[in-house]
Symmetry: D2
Subunit: 338 residues, 4 copies
């Protein structure tokens, strides 16, 4: 689709449990590129599921937020009423209403001056003390996504972990993998700068331009493979290569968005190696109780995540730049006022 | 391959940690049918990985077994020395030597008068008091396999479980699923007698001749699907249907043997539903500490598993009969002396 | 304290997130006897934390309940706003406001014609289809309590479990223990009828009038003890005896209410046997997603729990009767209209 | 007891599965001080359960070790035959034979020139590449003990952890706690140097000379307490203070040796706060698969653990020094040849 900045009507309060947020910072996510590349123009989708701002209006039934509160908004929401939704897992919404903001016409996103947030007690959080605005934006989606991927990768103290793909989500996943005490993290990518960043974070870089990542992982592990593999790209080839990285008894946790319905899958390998393969649509709010104190304690290196700061008026260029994955480009932060 | 009874040399003691077992009862497993159908004749494979008998000879270093002990033999073995092997998980053998008896020429199986068992402290168990011979045979492979499948299916109290395939392994898996407190078990097959057996065991039968299992599972669960699905067939179609049975957040545990290397896999479904998919090559000895007290306490209905008792001299007919999956045929027990 | 029926003012709506429930059935809990025996008369406590009824009035912000809905009310509540409270674990309330209805003057209980329920979306549930009124009353406290005790007892398939105390909570715990696949349940009490009830439920009765429960448990387990012990009395002596029942590596889960601050505790035993000891104040609403489908599927034997049905007008006699623990008395159901 | 160096007969091979190890380095453990203070002289106990050396003689049935191999020896052993023993958990020995070397007359310890190790395949490990001798000594007991304590403390990403006692085991526990991703570690002791060491390792020091540790922990956590508490002293007062440090829903994991049989225990607190309390006798060999790769990867700061190197001939002085807990004294390494 073509990305354009348009004048649209102001959002209206989505019922008594919702709020309107004046957006102050928003970001482009790798998953936005799926729409950018594959969706037709004209669907009326207002993009964006990573946003922070100030509550401008609050429904009468909202309990935990007030007008004037600065909040971060979960990129993923659900019905807001079922047990998983209220417990922070809208990805498991029992009403089947899991969705990311900005992915369909009737759920306008946060790359905007304002956004409507339904059931805000469940899906928005006052920005906690000691959390910067950039960190708050990361808490709306990609840090929770990386965390969910690491959490489901069955990493134990002493494990060997592989992270396939060192874009923004991969870098979050890599840092979250460290929370589980691995002995080694092998980090696979093709962009030198991304490999260097991973190495600074304590990982062993594997340059997939030289040979397939899985081949190098097997060499680095005496042929045994890795206990835990986190896939953070979503391409068919990287998902399949991730499976080949896993050791007998290992787990492959896919956080890259792959929507293939007929991926040529090595079930025989999964059987003979007793593997576990899983993917996840991020349970954003449910991760905050773990992630917020870690961010506050400075346990992550997040400062260099946003390599570019631009105005929302430059959104078309921002998408082009982000999509280039050029050296020096990791993630773009947008200011709706600029 | 053609199955024939041949006169072969007696097995020799496989080192000081091994034993020779005079086989008293042995059985045909569904996984033997893979070889029966697909392997060429002439490989010299001596079939069988389900056997019990008496220790006829014991190596000098064997600690827990003596000549004269009646034992059951793990269908799956490994190097016998690594940490997983000694802890009962030869499927995770660090030396990469996981194998089932009777699947290759140099590991002769138990459909024979005698068999050699290496590292017998790890891979054989004196038949415990209160365990019948038929139950002991089931403990060599299919009850552990069904148990491993259920254990890895993430069944919790109140869950809805689907078992796809009600052959011998499926019936074991169904009974093991009950150990985890599900509210409902939906049991899918096409053979009326098998469906009736599942119903007697407390499951809700789903006849896949009427409509695809997954379609009926969704209808029976208001469109939500099942928390846990155990696939116990191994065909491409049943593995794929099992994936369609799973609810958002669900787990699909495959114990049917599927060796496809390019199964057309719905990765998009796995992502959007946050699924976990896993398979396992059975960790036989590691399951005995749980399964033996349950068998002793009569917690399983195992008596009707062996529908046919035949002599090893009739082995060719026995394979034909077992392969027919005819009504009235569930599993065949063989007596090497008859 | 003395228990009397008094005329009191009608409850008022506890804020916009609360409801008023007209009570239709209520029950006396073993924990009420702590107050009955130990609290002075005159505190103004309105007893009762097990009640069901109909929503008579609902605050404007209530989302999941309407006037006229028949509901069951969690016996335990909290602030209603923190993450544990909204996720069904008011026992872990971050605001430190965990409390049971009817245990203090400013949280009037359910042994009444009507009760106020704050934050009703979190703490009340429409009575699900297929759940009888008696079952609904059990879901307000003692079935969740028994379940929580079993859940935290680390029961695994094949385990040996001991339940100490076969009063109402013990009988619930015993049935919940079965959800985890134990091979054996040893049930300890001194009342013949209670022992007989446990035996009908599949347990091995141990009559503690003959010898201490732990002594008989050790005899029944070849001196090894039980993997999991659930204490459902709360007396000092039974808590200590429960610790003596545990095997090396075992877990003792205390659901009996014991408020001792200097129990003479065998720490040396806990160390040498690598034990885990835990207690829990019941996380009622968080258990419903598991327990409701189990009740609907008829997995529990609950029909004979209420041995006596009386009118609220007979509440003083009801307490006396329940407190007697006489043969034939297990639990008393009260009708506020009679 | 009085500690003296005596000439004793050489050890003899403890059966065909055992080895004789020529001891090269050995250490004094805090738990040795229990005997030092409390056991009468004349029991004939040969002390020591932390030793490394070279295999001088190997029984015929030993599979994984050869004469000349340099090995580290598990401080804790069991029968060597049961399932927990072969799986690395001699603390859970089914034969009830869990014991530490050097704690009774018939299991002579490693503060000697040589020691007999029964069932050496289970209880000794060739010193892995990249592991120094000092690290190997730490792997015989206190690093596994600290790890077991942390593993059982239910630490999750974002947790707040307290470590009570910063002696050698406490320092190991503190470093192992970091493997589970806590946001904060509060470290309690009374010795300035020990507090400074903890701070260098990333913890927040709490000086218990100023006020009780629990009081300061509550202040540092807004009154809420810590999710996980590891007690590494073993005194009655510190165990009780550790309980007071725990938040609602928290876990207290005791690794300090406390053999009290009537500790005045706040069961009411455990109930009202839904706490878990556990202790453990270390499962040494079972921890090696996690700890060895972590040591090899340099994930621990172990170099400054041994503050003193002495000859075994100075053993009496070494005990006095170690017992002093003076500033500058953390742990003593002994050389049997000096």
């Amino acid at each position: 689709m073509e990305v354009r900045l348009l004048e649209v009507p102001d959002p209206v309060l989505p019922g008594p449990h919702g709020v309107i947020v004046t957006v102050e910072r928003t970001a482009i996510c790798g998953s936005d590129l799926h729409l950018y590349h594959d969706a037709p123009t004209g669907l009326g989708i207002r993009l964006g599921h990573e946003a922070i701002g100030t509550v401008a209006e609050a429904g009468a039934s909202v309990r935990t937020l007030s007008v004037g509160d600065r909040v971060l908004v979960s990129g993923v929401i659900g019905c807001g009423l079922c047990a998983p939704c209220v417990a922070g897992q809208p990805n498991l919404c029992r009403a089947g209403q899991s969705a990311a903001f900005g992915t369909m016409a009737d759920l306008p996103g946060g790359q905007a001056e304002a956004m409507a947030v339904p059931f805000a007690d469940a899906f928005a959080l006052p920005i906690p003390d000691g959390v910067t605005d950039e960190e708050a934006v990361l808490l709306t989606d990609i840090l929770p996504t990386g965390y969910a991927g690491a959490e489901r990768a069955a990493i134990r103290p002493g494990s060997t972990v592989v992270v396939v793909g060192l874009g923004p989500v991969g870098i979050m996943a890599l840092q979250c993998a460290k929370l589980y005490g691995p002995a080694r993290i092998l980090a696979v990518d093709m962009v030198p700068e991304r490999l260097a960043r991973a190495e600074r974070l304590g990982a062993e870089p594997i340059d997939a331009r030289i040979a397939p990542g899985s081949q190098q992982v097997l060499e680095a592990t005496s042929g045994w493979g890795a206990d835990s593999v986190i896939e953070a790209v979503g391409a068919d080839a990287t998902v399949l290569d991730a499976l080949s990285c896993a050791s007998t008894g290992g787990t492959v946790s896919v956080v890259g968005v792959n929507l293939a319905m007929a991926l040529p899958f090595p079930m025989g390998l999964v059987f003979l190696k007793s593997l576990t393969v899983r993917a996840i649509f991020a349970p954003v709010p449910g991760t905050w109780s773990a992630l917020v104190p870690l961010v506050q304690a400075g346990k992550f290196s997040l400062a260099e995540t946003f390599t570019h700061h631009m105005g929302l008026s430059q959104v078309a260029e921002a998408y082009q730049l982000f999509d280039s994955r050029a050296d020096g480009v990791l993630k773009v932060l947008l200011d709706p006022k600029a």
